[in-house]
Structure formats: structure tokens, C-alpha cells
Symmetry: C2
Subunit: 294 residues, 2 copies
């Protein structure tokens, strides 16, 4: 059993981006610039955004954090995004989700200039992903593809089972794995809350992506020998032994499942840490594309 | 075994649209208007477009056919589409594919105003489909969904196997069947040319959509008892007994497979005849949306 070590792969991605940015600086060129919008004071969102900004700093990306109050109107948020859309020095825009309930996520996401939509949530980018065109792949599925590529896992013709049909993880993951691309060409089964005999389907899988958000859901009797298991779960579970009072649990019962696997991603240290690297990669792609087009 | 009779369902859809258009006329309102662009003299394209125009006439849709020469430039085609985008009385625009090889299909499709993209090929509409937002579903997958709904086939939690990952049939079909919508909520496996053990996967399916374009590919030993089989194939095969010199063959060996099925769509008379009804339904939807927004 080998660990799909997100820390190693994320660092490799960041090192590559960092070197590229140093070269840009040496040439006196403009530096890629990520802008993040954070609304309100949600604890998890604060942590996510802080981690993203810190990774920008470490890697050399310029960054701008815009904080808006919880009661900001949709009009003001829209205007803030329009401003970032128009500012030529901004390459990537992310609006940290979830938004306050009085604001429409669908409408806000569609306001972001698709060329700066480094989260890949704009429907135009989702459609380009579906059609196999160059696009921004959402951070979690992209992180998983980067893990599979780094460890040179042979995916072609393999049966992949994706559990969870969310717009930001399960759905794009299922599409990517079935496309004719590196780490693609799988036969993909997409499972969800209405799926019957999920255990039986999982037992057929060469590759399992668990993205349903139920801690410890995937058990040993659902996994065949030598399967590759990717754990997307990051649920906070009470744990009084931890200083923070909680532990992060994945969707996979790691102790029971890992002995069966050829490869498995742990939680933490697996898919989760890949997402910020993926986001920075998208920001660099946005920068490159925009530099070519101007 | 029951036949999924595309002629009956397509006629039902067209009758409903025809009645709605009669009511619009009675109220003195504007009539939905479809514009088709046909380039060159490809025989199959001529037939398809002629059938679409005839169905418009029968159902009461206004229609405009624009013919361009095989050697038309991409600039002229783009300008023609821009003109249709801007003409307020045009609700739906279709550009008959394939295009001459000197023109980029991707670029041309992205020129069509997404609100008039009744083929549902624009990446914005593909993305809206992927994200479960209101959109134009491409005609073949929409036709299949309408067949499943008409015959009230219980799809929830069923295992659907889609063979073929094209952008206009297999891919969107796989997404639709797995969404939380009527005739959706299937567990979906998407198979393609790299799939191993396709026969074994098909034998597990409650629903099979064969969209690979190989006449008679799906054999009896690939189908389990009481499966629902939808045949998307429409390949022309030499047949000297026919006046035309050819017969249209589906991807399913109908004689061998049909005795096993609970439902099966024949070729011709199944999925194929649904596509024009689906296109007109999309045109009517475009009309309704545009009338609401103005």
C-alpha cells in the first residue's frame, strides 16, 4: 500500500509555480495576481481564505483580499466583482463560498469573468470542461488529477466509481476521469444518494473517489484488493484530545481500507492539501492565457 | 416487451406545441421563429434540415433557412450568426453540422447567442446542464428523456449504462440520467472505446443507451432480462432491396435483443424521430424565455 501524499505533490506544484514566478520577476514581467472576496466571519471560510493567501505569499503570487460584511447587498458584491473583472492586473478572482443566504450563488458566480474564474465554477467553464475544451477545472477534481498524474497511476480503461454528484467535486470528477486525457479514459460510474447496492458497485472499482461528506463511510467490505482510493471528505468531528476540540475526518475508514489498497490518499494530507495548489495552478494558467491574449 | 414509439411521442410533443402556437395566433402574439443555416450540399445535412423546416411548417413555427456556399468564410458565417443573434424576431438559431473543414466548429458554436442556442451545443448551455440549471438540452438526449417520461419508466436508483462519450449525445445523456430530475436519479456508468468488459457492464444495466454508431453492436448476451434499451444509432447501411439503396441501422441487434427487454426503442421510429420534436420544444422554450425577459 502506498500513500498518495498530497503534501509532497502540492509542494512540487507550488515549487514549480514559485520558480516560474521568480523567472517572471527576473525578466521584469508582471506577476500573477489572485483576488479573493471573503464575506462575513464564518470560521471555516476565514481559515480557507487565510490558507489561500498564505500560499500566494509563499509562492510569490500577488494577492488582494477584499472583506465585505455579512449584510453586504448582492448589488455591492456584484459591483465589487465587476471592478475586479475590469482591473487588468487581476488574473484570478475567487469568491469564498458559502455566501450569505440573501445572495444568489448562481448569479454571483455568473458575474465573474470566465477568464478569471480560477475556481472553475462559472457555467461556461463547467461546459468547456464537459466538452473537453481548455478551461479551469475546479480545485478538488484538479487536485485529484494532479495526484493521479504525479504517481503515474494507470487509469486507462480502469473502472472508476465516484460517490457524490456535487457540482464542485463529484460531477466534474466523473466527467474528467472519463475523458480522453492524461489520468482519464476510465469507465466511470457516478453514484449518489439514490444509488442502490453502492457496496456492490464499489467492490467492482479499480479507482474510488469518495466525495459524499460522511466520515468513515467507505468500509473494507466495499473495496476490492489493489484498488486506488481517493478520499475527498473533510468533516470536522468532535475530538477532545485535540487542542482545537475537533479532528478532520475523511469519507474513508482509513485503518480498515488502507491495507487493501494499492494507493490511498489520507485525510488530512491527501486531496485537501492539493486544492490550494490546484487553485494557484489555475491562477497561473489564467495569467498565461491573459498575457498571450494581450 | 413494449416499443418506445418515437412517432407517437414526437407527435404528442408536436401536437402540444402546435396547440400552443394556435393560441398565440388567436391572441395576436408573435409566433416562435427558428432560423437554420445550411452550408454546402451535403446530402444528409440537406435531408436533416429539410425535415426540420417541414416540422416547423407542420407545427406552425415561423422559420428561415439561410443557405451558404461550401466555400463561405468563417467571417461571413460569423457575421450571419451575429445578424440572427440581433434580430429580435428570431428565437432559435441552428447551424447544421458538420461544417466545412476550413471553419472551426468550436468557434462558430460559441458565436451563437446562448439564449437562442436551441441545439444546446454552446459551452455555456452545456455547463448549465452539468450544473442542473435551466438550459437547452441537446436534441437527442432531450428526446430520450421525453421518451422515458412519456412511458413513465421508473428510473430512480436504476443502473443506466451509456455507451459513447460524444459531446452531443453520450456525455450529456450520462449527466442528465444521473441528475435529480424526472427520468433522472439513475446510477450512471459511461462507457466508451477504452472500456474493458463492456459486455459485463451492460449485463448489469437496467437501462442501456447505445450511442456508439456501430450497427447491430448490442447483442442479446449483453442485455439482462427486462432491461430498457434506447438505440441512438442511425447508420446508413447498403440495402439493395430498398429503393434508396440503403437502410438505416441502429446500434442494437433488435431481433435478438428485443425479446429480453421490458422496453426498447426501434430504429427507425425511436430516438431519431424524437430529435426534431425536441428541437422544436427547445425553440418554444427559447421563445417563452425571451418573451418573459422583454
Amino acid at each position: 500500500m502506498k500513500i498518495l501524499d498530497g503534501k509532497i505533490v502540492a509542494q512540487a506544484v507550488k515549487d514549480e509555480l514559485g520558480s516560474a514566478i521568480i523567472k517572471l520577476k527576473e525578466k521584469g514581467l508582471r506577476i500573477p495576481h489572485l483576488a479573493a472576496i471573503l464575506i462575513g466571519n464564518n470560521g471555516a471560510s476565514e481559515t480557507y481564505v487565510a490558507n489561500k493567501i498564505r500560499s500566494c505569499e509563499e509562492t510569490g503570487f500577488k494577492n488582494t483580499l477584499i472583506r465585505l460584511k455579512e449584510d453586504v447587498t448582492e448589488e455591492v458584491l456584484t459591483a465589487t466583482i465587476h471592478d475586479l473583472n475590469e482591473r487588468n492586473e487581476i488574473d484570478g478572482i475567487l469568491v469564498q463560498l458559502p455566501l450569505p443566504s440573501h445572495i444568489s450563488e448562481d448569479r454571483i458566480i455568473s458575474v465573474i469573468n470566465p477568464e478569471k474564474d480560477i475556481d472553475g465554477f462559472h457555467p461556461l467553464n463547467a461546459g468547456r470542461l464537459m466538452q473537453g475544451l481548455p478551461t479551469f477545472v475546479p480545485a478538488t477534481p484538479l487536485g485529484i488529477m494532479l495526484l493521479l498524474e504525479y504517481y503515474q497511476i494507470d487509469t486507462r480503461g480502469k473502472h472508476a466509481v465516484v460517490i457524490g454528484r456535487s457540482n464542485i467535486v463529484g460531477r466534474p470528477m466523473s466527467v474528467l476521469l472519463s475523458q480522453n486525457i492524461p489520468a482519464g479514459n476510465c469507465t466511470v460510474t457516478l453514484c449518489h444518494s439514490k444509488t442502490k447496492n453502492l457496496a456492490g458497485i464499489c467492490r467492482q472499482a479499480d479507482i474510488i473517489v469518495a466525495a459524499l461528506g460522511k466520515p468513515g463511510f467507505l468500509q473494507a467490505d466495499m473495496v476490492k484488493e489493489n484498488a486506488v482510493v481517493l478520499d475527498v471528505g473533510i468533516t470536522r468531528v468532535k475530538d477532545l484530545q485535540k487542542k482545537s476540540g475537533y479532528a478532520i475526518k475523511g469519507d474513508v475508514d482509513f485503518d480498515a481500507v488502507s491495507p487493501l489498497c494499492s494507493y490511498i490518499s489520507p485525510v488530512p494530507g491527501g486531496v485537501g492539501v492539493m486544492t490550494i495548489a490546484a487553485l494557484l495552478k489555475n491562477t497561473f494558467t489564467a495569467y498565461n492565457t491573459r498575457m498571450k491574449n494581450t
